[in-house]
Subunit: 391 residues, 2 copies
């Protein structure tokens, strides 16, 4: 036995590190296991903090969660800057949604009505207003929408800062792969590493993103219903900043695309969405489509320098909402399934999980995201029974 | 003074190394100067050996040169394999030119008539024949042309092999930048390196590709009329070989594109052609156009893995033909300006220059490519007089 901990967190991405930091801040001895922390979805994510423009019909409870987490980013940015001297790239830039054609504009008007009904801050724009806000958008776009409160953060910078504050708070980071959970007398009591080492712990948190099910030794019904959803982002760079100043997004002939401008002239273009298992190879066709659609909204993209393409696997769930909370197996909890909102939901997930790990329950507004929502009928998430939507 | 040589070659790309190898083989003491050999156009080139499908009206003498050099590749591949044990990727794969539309097919028919008039091996194809030769080309292409003698080589492998045989033949490779030529009593007598070191030599060969004019101390009228023409190639990879088996090229809505398949499943897609000075940043818009046009000819390109984008600078000349031979300055010769045909023309350039350096003259068939063809009126290549086409 190498060591023991109050809490073992399997996964050192944004979620794992956020939970580790906040839990250590509440006095827990925390160990994070990850052979390559931050190499998952975080490495490809653009970092949009977009509860309003990511609003989907029928996902009302997710909207509230997204809004609540977005509201914490200002404080997090300040706190992390104070502790590390690092700027995590939190920018209150706002988001312009550009309509591609008349049908698209009609959809945006419907969405805007829904947003207003929910009390969200959003403003319809004429084509002229879109061009005033973003002069480098394509001429002739028929209109759009401004979500002045949809911002951005730099996921890689955030991850670096979280790693530093976690370590400063006493978290043990082990660059090792957890291969199996140790379950005895009906509860989890630790995990075993690739080299056979056992780490004992009172509580184990699954925070492995798209790979969250890759831990042997657990009853199938407690494994979170997560599937990988491949996403590619293109990382481009302008000689000078100023091509765009807001996040610019839209749906070009039905295909969503966004452009996130950084202070230094970099522009992140995303994102493909592909059901391709654990394949993380960048696909030429996805790059083509992103370039085509980004250029359609902002023609000057063609003159940007290509730096690299990044591929990540989003942890998708059957209802597109995250899975946060205790499982039916004592000592085992989940902080996963964040799908498109992992960066955005890092603060609220970290705080909710820290509360769960110290007080035994998440805040009431998180109850809707319990892992147990899928296990009323356990077979439905039994791997062997087959559940094609996510398995 | 560091050393002396019979011949100093400024530039260690394919041309410089080829000339060095062949000259050392004739008993000359050769020194090659290049801070990063092979990092120029060679790093981006696809390696098409395509005298027939690169035929352009009005470039008859270039055609003969291209054909003569292409004919030497089989022997070169064998000789280099024998000396180094390396396979330079010479493949007698043939080239299929696919017509994109009816107008394009008409152009191909005209080109074919011209090719036949010149006695070249080329065969018109129906759409069905194109698909029989290359089943993964787009359905509905109206026809094409087979140039069974247009092959390929791997430029990076060729460069590695040439470096080895040059060294084995006694060539001195210095990873240093030549900054100026030393001219005294009306002839060149050596070059000076960045650190001030002088290398004396009876003959100096300019073989610096697009950077060939970057040597101080020479009379402007002997600097070759070379300008950089930026080209980008995409390096893709299939899980299995077999997407295409010939080089496939075409002109999609007037934009030339080609796909070169390697044995291991890699496919090189090229090439943009941009007048952008010495800018070598990969441009997003060029990548988009290459992906678009390559997919138009071979839709399965969309499923290939993206490995990297390479950018090179072709050494363009006013008449698109290379500049090979002695200059008006005694002791100074040029092996440059190979534009789109640097890989293809490496063997004949190497042999012709070795002959020049040992016997005082290039073979008669190379006389048309003399540096002196631009200097009948010296002002025409005087940098200060301005020659917008290439300056």
């Amino acid at each position: 036995m190498l060591s023991s901990a109050d809490v073992i967190i399997v996964g050192g991405g944004l979620i794992g590190l956020g939970v580790a930091w906040r839990s250590a801040g509440r006095g827990l001895r925390v160990t994070v296991l990850d052979p390559s922390p931050g190499a998952g979805a975080c490495a490809a994510a653009a970092g949009m903090l977009a509860p309003v423009t990511e609003l989907h019909y029928g996902e009302r409870s997710l909207l509230d969660l997204n809004l609540a987490s977005a509201a914490r980013f200002g404080d997090w940015a300040g706190e992390l800057a104070g502790l590390t001297g690092r700027d995590i790239g939190y920018r209150t830039c706002g988001t312009v949604v550009a309509a591609w054609d008349g049908a698209d504009l009609k959809d945006l008007r419907d969405l805007h009505a829904f947003q207003r009904e929910l009390g969200l801050e959003a403003q319809l724009l004429t084509g002229r207003e879109v061009r005033e806000l973003e002069p480098n958008t394509a001429p002739g776009l028929p209109g759009g929408l401004l979500a002045a409160g949809d911002h951005q953060v730099d996921p890689r910078r955030l991850h670096t800062a979280l790693g530093e504050v976690a370590i400063a708070a006493g978290v043990t980071m082990l660059p090792s792969r957890a291969v199996s959970a140790v379950v005895s007398r009906g509860r989890v009591s630790g995990v075993r590493l690739e080299d056979g080492t056992l780490i004992s712990g009172d509580q184990v948190v699954l925070a492995g993103g798209a790979w969250i099910r890759e831990l042997d030794g657990l009853p199938p019904q407690v494994l979170p219903a997560v599937r990988p959803v491949k996403g590619q982002t293109l990382h481009l760079r302008a000689a000078d900043p100023g091509l765009i100043t807001h996040v610019v997004r839209g749906s070009v002939r039905g295909r969503p695309v966004y452009l996130v401008p950084r202070d230094d002239g970099r522009v992140v273009v995303g994102a493909s969405s592909e059901e391709a298992g654990f394949d993380t190879r960048p696909r030429a066709g996805a790059m083509y489509e992103l370039l085509r659609d980004a250029q359609a909204l902002v023609p000057g993209v063609s003159e940007l320098e290509f730096e690299h393409v990044a591929t990540g696997l989003r942890p998708g769930t059957p209802d597109n909402a995250p899975i946060i909370g205790a499982t039916d197996l004592e000592g085992l909890s989940v902080a996963g399934g964040h799908y498109r909102n992992g960066v955005l939901l890092t603060p609220i997930t970290a705080d909710a999980m820290a509360q769960l790990l110290t007080e035994g329950a998440v805040p009431p507004e998180l109850l809707a995201f319990s892992p147990r929502r899928f296990t009323a009928s356990p077979q439905s998430i039994d791997r062997d029974q087959g559940a094609p939507a996510w398995n």
